[in-house]
């Protein structure tokens, strides 16, 4: 970890979000037929980014992150259905629901470590999924929650059928989320959480309230995951039970590891690569997709990206 305090070599927090906005705008302008895919990539990236705060930064391996995404999605959907179609308030409601669930479940989960923690996160997500399935009156059960319409963004930009507004909206929220995450990770609080990742005992001995710091980070990640869920609900105008599924949690973890955990931009790269691969392979045959992702996972572990890059660099270095 390059957390040497004598020489902080930290890129400004606004740089990465600007890159995201630039690339996103170019893609938006150049590929008008693929706006749905672009929106999905931005939402997935925000979700994986929030997972990186938990797994990569705080070092808590979780397989139940979809619970926070689903909470945000259902909250935003219900808010649009029962209260108001204003998207930004809906986004805040979704983020709040994700944060609230993270705070409540984290207060219970974070007492446990390792494998027990991992399995308890699975349990929390599965319990949330069962409750959503059972509460048909609220969530629509297996049919999904639908029938809500979104008002125009900022009172001016209506959500159009081609998804032009939706794509820009998702990219803007992703850039904002990335900015917040970067600021938090580089703050003293973020350093404390990274310290807990490396050694709980030492941070506790230094006087850091370990549980409270972890809970705060988990709650923040919950807010980002909830915001991603809200975006998904608002841009698709439907919330299904799959937004709480184990598969979503597992896929997000796979994306994070593919891109590299603990560095924030790795989460974005993983989400983009995975979603694009999924989109291309699954349109041919869903089982082809499993072949590809299965093989990709095995190769990534046997030949880790860092090692492969190092090998490539040394080869190029000796040649030059």
């Amino acid at each position: 970890m390059s957390t040497d305090s004598s020489a902080p070599r930290v890129a400004p927090a606004w740089r990465a979000p600007l890159v995201v906005i630039a690339i996103g705008s170019i893609a938006w302008w150049a590929l008008p037929d693929q706006l749905g895919l672009l929106t999905r990539i931005a939402i997935t990236a925000l979700f994986v980014l929030s997972l990186d705060l938990v797994v990569g930064i705080a070092g808590l391996a979780t397989l139940g992150h979809a619970a926070l995404f689903g909470a945000g999605a259902y909250a935003a959907g219900l808010f649009a259905l029962k209260a108001s179609g204003e998207p930004l308030i809906g986004l805040a409601v979704g983020a709040g629901a994700g944060a609230l669930l993270a705070l409540a479940s984290g207060a219970f989960l974070l007492r446990y470590h390792g494998f027990t923690f991992l399995m308890l996160t699975v349990a929390v997500a599965q319990i949330a999924a069962s409750l959503a399935q059972k509460a048909r009156d609220w969530t629509g059960g297996d049919d999904g929650l639908s029938g809500f319409t979104m008002g125009p963004l900022l009172g001016r930009f209506a959500f159009d059928l081609e998804g032009r507004t939706a794509a820009l909206y998702a990219i803007a929220v992703l850039a904002l989320g990335l900015y917040v995450a970067r600021r938090v990770v580089d703050s003293p609080f973020g350093l404390a959480v990274r310290g807990i990742h490396e050694s709980r005992a030492r941070m506790a001995a230094l006087g850091t309230p370990v549980l409270r710091r972890l809970l705060a980070m988990y709650t923040l990640a919950g807010a980002l995951a909830g915001a991603a869920g809200a975006l998904s609900a608002q841009t698709n105008a439907i919330v299904g039970l799959d937004s709480l599924s184990f598969a979503l949690s597992a896929e997000a973890l796979v994306m994070l590891i593919l891109g590299g955990a603990g560095r924030l931009h790795g989460a974005l790269i993983g989400a983009v690569v995975f979603t694009l691969l999924h989109h291309t392979a699954a349109s041919i045959n869903p089982y082809h997709w499993l072949f590809i992702i299965g093989a990709a996972l095995m190769v990534v572990v046997l030949l880790p990206p860092q090692k492969a890059w190092g090998w490539l660099r040394s080869r190029l270095g000796t040649k030059a």
Partner: protein
């Protein structure tokens, strides 16, 4: 009363299937410290092998099952010897990713070879008939499952605690270098334990085919259930796994009988409560 008896017997059979599959995972996870999420795929392969041998090749059930189990063991041994042993010293996350990738790969392969439909294992007449227990009739297959679970539990406990192989295994796990210095063939021990775990998973896949239908997504669908059993029972604890499997099996069966529209809620609620009460396993304080 009748209902209670039904729940207890079906839950016991379900729990025994979970236990037979979970034993191997508990050993690799708890004793060898290797997170093998491809364990569900081993169960699936055992079940598929038995289904294909009994149905396509018309083999007798009693021959097909040992052959299917042996094939799963051989596959486990080959995988361990070629690839997985290089991952023993990697981080848990890398082990998880590799074995999940392996599961995905095997799911796609199974689908490519056998198609997406559910596979049925042809039962011999002896098992297809029902047995009258006095208060209810029961498929003979259920009784075989329960008996097999008890035999596996006894055999596994005896092997780990009483035999030289069990001592070697525990020595190889606790102090691999010391064990190797003392002349214990730790590579053979690791490979054989892994193969035995895979074989048991295969047996569980065969015996549980009526309760957990064999289809390509089997490998992931029931993996969570098996992981839950291992976590609640405590990694590496055989009696803990048996207790966890049977109690969770009864909870799951009861919720299917009494509250089927709640889905897996009670199963996971029970799991969360048990884990919160005894985070290191039911029988470990």
């Amino acid at each position: 009363m009748q209902l209670l008896a039904n729940v207890l017997i079906d839950g016991l059979a379900y729990g025994m299937v979970l236990f037979i599959i979970a034993v191997g995972l508990s050993v690799t996870l708890g004793l060898m410290r290797f997170v093998n999420l491809a364990h569900g795929a081993f169960a699936m392969i055992g079940g598929y092998a038995a289904a294909l041998l009994t149905r396509e090749a018309q083999w007798s059930f009693w021959i097909a099952v040992p052959v299917a189990v042996a094939a799963t063991a051989a596959l486990g041994a080959v995988l361990e010897a070629l690839v997985l042993r290089h991952l023993y010293r990697r981080t848990e996350l890398e082990q998880v990713l590799f074995t999940i990738g392996l599961s995905f790969f095997l799911i796609a392969l199974t689908n490519a070879l056998a198609g997406p439909q559910v596979q049925l294992i042809v039962l011999p007449p002896l098992l297809a008939q029902s047995v009258d227990l006095g208060f209810r009739t029961l498929p003979a297959q259920r009784l075989l499952v329960i008996a097999a679970g008890l035999v596996v539990a006894a055999a596994a406990a005896w092997t780990v605690t009483r035999t030289r192989f069990g001592i070697w295994l525990r020595a190889a796990v606790d102090h691999p270098d010391t064990a190797a210095t003392l002349g214990i063939p730790i590579r053979t021990v690791q490979c054989a334990s892994f193969a035995a775990g895979a074989a048991l998973a295969g047996l569980g896949g065969v015996l549980g085919a009526e309760l957990m239908p064999l289809e390509p997504y089997y490998a992931l669908k029931y993996l969570v259930l098996v992981l839950v059993v291992v976590a609640v029972g405590g990694m590496g604890s055989l009696p803990g796994s048996l207790l966890a499997a049977v109690s969770l099996g009864i909870v799951e069966t009861a919720s299917k009988y009494l509250a089927s529209d709640w889905g897996g809620l009670f199963f996971f609620l029970a799991m969360a409560l048990l884990l919160a009460w005894r985070p290191n396993g039911l029988l470990k304080r």
